[in-house]
C-alpha cells in the first residue's frame, strides 16, 4: 500500500492545486449556469434580435475549442488591453464558463421546448406574466430535463480546468507537473506512474462528488413531483371542517 502513496509535501502541493481547480470550477459553473439560462431563454425570445444574438453566442462558443478560447481570454486579451494585473484565475474561469454557456444554452432551450404547450396556456389563462410563467411554471419542470446533462457538462468543465495549467495556473495538473519535475531533477524517487495514478484518483473523486450532488438535486426535484399524503380531517384548517 505504501508504494502507492506520494510524500506528504507532494500531497500538500496537490491539495493546493485541487483548491485552485475547485475555485475555477466553481466560478466557471456559476457563470456557465447563468449564461446557459440567459442565452437558452434568449434563443426562444419573441424578439428577433435577441434570438439572433443568442444564436451567434451559441454557435461561437460551441464552435471554438476551449483551449483556443482560454488563450484568447487569458493571454491575448490582457495583452491587447494592456492589463497585466488581470487575474488569470478569473479569466480562465470566464473562458470555461463562457464555453459551458454555449452548450448549456442549447440544453436549456431544448428542455423548455419539451414542456407541453398546455402548461404555458394554463399560465396565460391564470394571467401570469411571461417572466412568472418561466420562473414558476416552465423552468421548474424544465429543470428535470436539464439536470442530468448539466451534471455531465459540469464534469466536462472539471476536465477542462486542466487546461488552465497551460496558461500558468497552479491547478492539480500543474501541481502534478511540478512534482514530476522535482522527481526528475531532485532525489525524490517516487515512480511517475504512482504520481499519475494519484492525480487520476483525485480527479475521479471530484467527478464522483459532482455526480453525487447532481443526483441529490435530481432526487429532491423528483420529490416535488411525487407529492404528499392524503390529509385526514384533523389536518384540515378550521374553515373547511
Amino acid at each position: 500500500m505504501d508504494g502507492l502513496l506520494l510524500e506528504a509535501n507532494q500531497y500538500r502541493l496537490l491539495r493546493d492545486g485541487a483548491w485552485v481547480t475547485l475555485q475555477i470550477l466553481g466560478l466557471a459553473f456559476v457563470l456557465g449556469v447563468v449564461l446557459s439560462l440567459v442565452v437558452g431563454v434568449g434563443r426562444l425570445s419573441e424578439r428577433r434580435w435577441v434570438r439572433g444574438i443568442a444564436l451567434v453566442y451559441v454557435e461561437f462558443f460551441r464552435g471554438i475549442s476551449s483551449i483556443v478560447l482560454l488563450f484568447i481570454v487569458a493571454i491575448a486579451i490582457p495583452i491587447l488591453l494592456g492589463v497585466s494585473q488581470a487575474s488569470i484565475l478569473m479569466l480562465g474561469s470566464l473562458a470555461l464558463g463562457a464555453n459551458m454557456g454555449g452548450y448549456g444554452a442549447e440544453i436549456v432551450r431544448g428542455s423548455i421546448q419539451a414542456i407541453p404547450k398546455g402548461q404555458s396556456e394554463a399560465s396565460i389563462a391564470l394571467n401570469l406574466s411571461n417572466t412568472q410563467r418561466l420562473r414558476y411554471v416552465v423552468l421548474p419542470q424544465a429543470l428535470r430535463i436539464i439536470l442530468p446533462p448539466f451534471g455531465n457538462l459540469t464534469i466536462e468543465i472539471l476536465k477542462g480546468t486542466a487546461l488552465v495549467s497551460l496558461v500558468g495556473l497552479a491547478d492539480i495538473t500543474q501541481a502534478g507537473n511540478f512534482i514530476r519535475q522535482q522527481q526528475l531533477f531532485g532525489d525524490a524517487g517516487t515512480d511517475r506512474t504512482i504520481l499519475f495514478l494519484n492525480i487520476l484518483v483525485i480527479y475521479f473523486v471530484l467527478a464522483q462528488i459532482i455526480n453525487g450532488l447532481f443526483r441529490l438535486a435530481e432526487w429532491r426535484l423528483e420529490k416535488r413531483f411525487s407529492g404528499g399524503e392524503h390529509l385526514t380531517p384533523l389536518d384540515l384548517p378550521e374553515a373547511t371542517k
Partner: protein, 271 residues
Amino acid sequence: MSAPDTTPYTGTNGNGAAGVRMRGVNKAFGTNTVLRELDLDVDPGERVVIIGPSGSGKTTILRVIMTLERPDSGTIEVGGRQLYHQPAGDGLKPASEKHIRSVRSDIGMVFQHFNLFPHMTALENIMLAPVKVHGQSKEEARTNAFELLDKVGLAHAANQTPGQLSGGQKQRVAIARSLATKPKIMLFDEVTSALDPELVGEVLNVLRDIAEEGKTTMMLVTHEMGFAREVADRLVMFDHGQVLESGPPADVLDNPREARTQEFLGAVREH
C-alpha cells in the same frame, strides 16, 4: 334570431359576471378559415353551451377570448372593455400587452386536458395566481384554496400532486384553480371529454354548483347534451366558424331548425 342590441350584452351584472360581445371576428390558420365574420353575444351571468361538429371552431372561439389565439380581425368586448383594442381618439388602436393583461384578469379557462402544474401540489396550483398575480398574502390564499378544494370535494388531496390524482380529481382541482382568481367569465372546453365515463359525473356536479351560484358567466363547449339541457340558458350550434342557430336548449335540441343541426344531433345521440 339574436336579441336586439339594446340588451345589456356588455358590462357586468349585479353579481359581477361579465358579458361578451364579439363582432366580425375572423380567424384563419393558413388557408383554413376557422372563424368567419363571427358575431356572438353573451349576457352577463348567462350560461351558454356551444355545440357543433369537430373542427367547426368551438375551441377556437374560447381560445381567442382567453387570448391564447389572436383574431385576424374583428373586435371582442369583455365586461364592457375591448380585449384587443384600446380607445385612441375617436377610434380604437391595438391594445398594449398591459391592457390585454388587465382585461384578461376577468377571464378564466378550464381545459380538456386539465393542464395542472405537475410540480406543485393541488394547493400550490390553486394558490399560485392569487399570490403571484393578485398579490394576496400566502395565508389568505391558502385559506381560500382550502375552501375551494373543499367545494370541489378534494380538501383531503391538498398536498397531493397531479400525478397522484385521477382524471376527475385533476379536473376538479383545475376548476378550483380557475375559480381562485374570481373570473367574471369562465370558459370550459370539453372539460369532461378526457375522462373515463364513471368520472364525468363528479366534474359535471361541480359545474352545476358554479352555475347555481351565478357569480360568473359561463361559456361551455361540451358533448354532454343532457347536461346542456339542464344547465344552459342558451345553446349555440356552431358550424364552419359561424353560428348556425341558437336558442333555449329545449328548442334547439328537440326542434332544430337547421338540417345541419338535426344531422349533428342525430350523430351525437347515436354515439
